[in-house]
């Protein structure tokens, strides 16, 4: 019988990559439960009071809510624009100029800092819009490319003659979109939602320019906090963000399986 030999060097590299990837996370996790008033690793003592502390600091409480609101609204709006855009780009691929699909990727190609700065100049200052609205526009622009690209990828393998079959059987085009097209790109839409949501919740560069008095996002608040304090609250907030992301992924894993993200 043939046995495939595994190169010990390969094992070494694999382990190193894992340490490199997971190490920082473990350090943050350790630091967040340390019973000291400064950030340290390995943790000394064991406490959850830094997690309690997050909610004692009203700025954290506020920004967590703002971040969640922003992520949900920005992602929702981006999907509302992105799904029809992706549909049109795929459905009428032959008729549309090729640069059109590039337009929808531009926000990814433009450095986020530039996006934030230009929005600050043109929208926040130029149009005197409320801070939350400017943030919403910024985040929506930020996540729109993910929505268009991921839903597009899903639509690219969708056979549009299926849609025509439904129409020929008497289903009006709009109804067909909801009953036939959408259910078949469901996994793409969910993947787009997750990517967009996580991108929005973790964004710093764009938000940095757009937050203002009274309205901030969690990552920006973390930055502001670190500038003044060095207690483990920061670590516990980071763990909270991580848990949020893991929770989203866990839901996906349970409902769809993670493999579809690789498609």
């Amino acid at each position: 019988m043939m046995t495939s030999r595994i190169n010990p060097l390969l094992i070494l590299f694999t382990v190193l990559v894992y340490i490199f990837l997971m190490g920082p996370l473990i350090i943050v996790l350790g630091a967040s439960v340390s019973d000291t008033t400064y950030l340290t690793f390995p943790p000394q003592g064991l406490t959850l009071r830094w997690f309690e502390n997050i909610f004692a600091i009203s700025a954290f409480k506020r920004t967590i809510i703002t971040s969640l609101e922003l992520a949900f609204l920005a992602t929702g709006l981006a999907l509302l624009i992105g799904i029809p855009a992706a549909y049109a780009l795929n459905r009428y691929r032959i008729k549309l100029p090729t640069w059109l699909s590039t337009v929808f990727v531009l926000p990814i190609l433009v450095p986020e800092i530039v996006l934030g700065f230009s929005l600050l100049k043109s929208v926040a200052v130029g149009m005197q819009t409320p801070i939350f609205l400017t943030l919403l526009v910024g985040h929506m622009l930020l996540v729109l490319p993910y929505c268009v690209r991921v839903v597009s990828a899903s639509l690219a393998s969708f056979d549009f003659s299926i849609e025509e079959a439904a129409v020929s059987l008497g289903s009006p085009p709009m109804k067909t979109f909801f009953t036939i097209v959408l259910p078949n790109v469901r996994s793409g839409v969910i993947a787009a939602f997750i990517l967009a949501f996580i991108t929005s919740i973790n964004d710093v560069s764009t938000s940095l320019f757009l937050t203002g008095p009274g309205v901030s996002t969690l990552p920006i608040q973390i930055l502001a906090h670190v500038e003044q304090f060095f207690d483990p609250t920061i670590a516990s907030v980071s763990v909270l963000l991580m848990l949020l992301t893991v929770a989203v992924m866990a839901i996906v894993e349970r409902t769809l399986g993670l493999t579809f993200l690789a498609k």
Partner: protein, 353 residues
């Protein structure tokens, strides 16, 4: 025969390119008509225009007493069978078949009853609860057929429905399609590039080229009496020899071949012969003769191949390379000279292009 589908003077463009020119076609009630041609000839465009997925530049489409020309596709009430089946991947076989009935507002119980009955007819009732992904190609196409038939459409259209199936299944399926179509008396339009498929199941076939119908006739007529050189070539007339009439004597015509040699043809046997014409013949239509007095085209024989029923010769003539058949009893060697004698029943006299 009453006309079910009438297409008149249909012209269509893709952007600036004209893809269909002044096309007229009528299909009788219960008739199966095929649109046959190479890819790009406009057959699928015609089908998509009738289905309402494309808009014509001009012309009209009528189905029964209904004008379809500007009607949205979902209101046309046409059953469609696609090349790649186009089943709804997220619905069970039963729900796929019931989809059209649902759009027509038919109650769930009645819908299920009718869908099941139709599945029974295509022999798939035991697969009603499966998803399309779990079916073979032939089963998928049966579901697609059932889905299109269950709405009892006044017109059923097929777009290359068998192209994705293997050869054996193709033959079985086309018989099945024809039987179902006959039994239901459903007026049908069938698009294919496969001549055998079109000829075997159609009442009439429209042979198309470059956005026009070249000839619209029964398969028998098309096969034996093509109306022009394009159709002749399409149905396998390998030899097309341009000729001119140099003398007429009653029913007998003296025709001159491009090299100047003459042969006499009887209009009683070849039909009316115009002054300039093209003699079209399959290999069977040109008999190889060594009789020096035979009325034929002089040829120098080349490669000989054995066909079982005859020998076939690549024959070098002044009209180019012609393919002719010779008797099994007297095989001739390459390089020998002979005459290629047109066989009246196997030849056609066509107008020059």
């Amino acid at each position: 025969m009453t006309q079910a589908l009438t297409v008149q003077n249909l012209t269509a463009h893709y952007g600036a390119t004209k893809v269909l020119e002044d096309l007229s076609l009528s299909v009788g009630k219960g008739e199966l008509v095929s649109l046959l041609g190479a890819s790009g000839c406009g057959k699928t465009t015609t089908l998509r225009l009738i289905a309402g997925f494309l808009e014509p530049t001009s012309g009209s489409i009528r189905l029964g007493d209904k004008d379809l020309t500007r009607l949205p596709a979902y209101k046309r009430d046409i059953g469609l069978v696609f090349q790649n089946y186009a089943l709804f991947p997220h619905l069970s076989v039963l729900d796929n078949v019931g989809f059209g009935l649902k759009q027509r507002g038919i109650a769930p119980a009645e819908r299920e009853k009718r869908a099941k009955a139709m599945l029974e007819r295509v022999g798939l009732s035991q697969l009603a609860d499966r998803l399309p992904g779990a079916l073979s190609g032939g089963q998928k196409q049966r579901v697609a057929l059932a889905r299109a038939l269950v709405i009892e459409p006044p017109l059923l259209m097929f777009d290359e429905p068998l192209s994705n199936l293997d050869a054996k299944l193709r033959v079985d399926m086309r018989v099945e399609i024809r039987q179902l179509q006959r039994a239901n008396g459903t007026t049908s339009v069938y698009v294919t590039h496969d001549q055998e498929e079109a000829f075997s199941i159609s009442d009439r076939v429209a042979i198309m080229n470059a956005g026009r119908i070249m000839q619209f006739d029964t398969p028998e007529t098309l096969y034996q009496r093509p109306a022009n050189a394009f159709v002749a070539r399409f149905v396998g007339f390998e030899n097309l020899v341009p000729m001119k009439v140099s003398a007429r004597d009653g029913a007998t015509v003296t025709a001159t071949t491009p090299d100047g040699s003459q042969l006499k043809l009887s209009q009683d046997r070849f039909g009316a012969i115009p002054d300039a014409f093209v003699l079209a013949a399959r290999a069977d239509g040109l008999a190889v003769s060594t009789d020096p007095n035979a009325e034929g085209i002089p040829a120098k024989l080349g490669l000989r191949t054995y066909l079982g029923r005859a020998y076939q010769y690549q024959s070098d003539t002044a009209a180019g390379m012609l393919i002719a058949n010779g008797a099994l009893s007297s095989p001739l060697e390459p390089g020998s000279t002979a005459k290629l004698v047109p066989v009246p029943d196997q030849c056609c006299v066509l107008k020059p292009e």
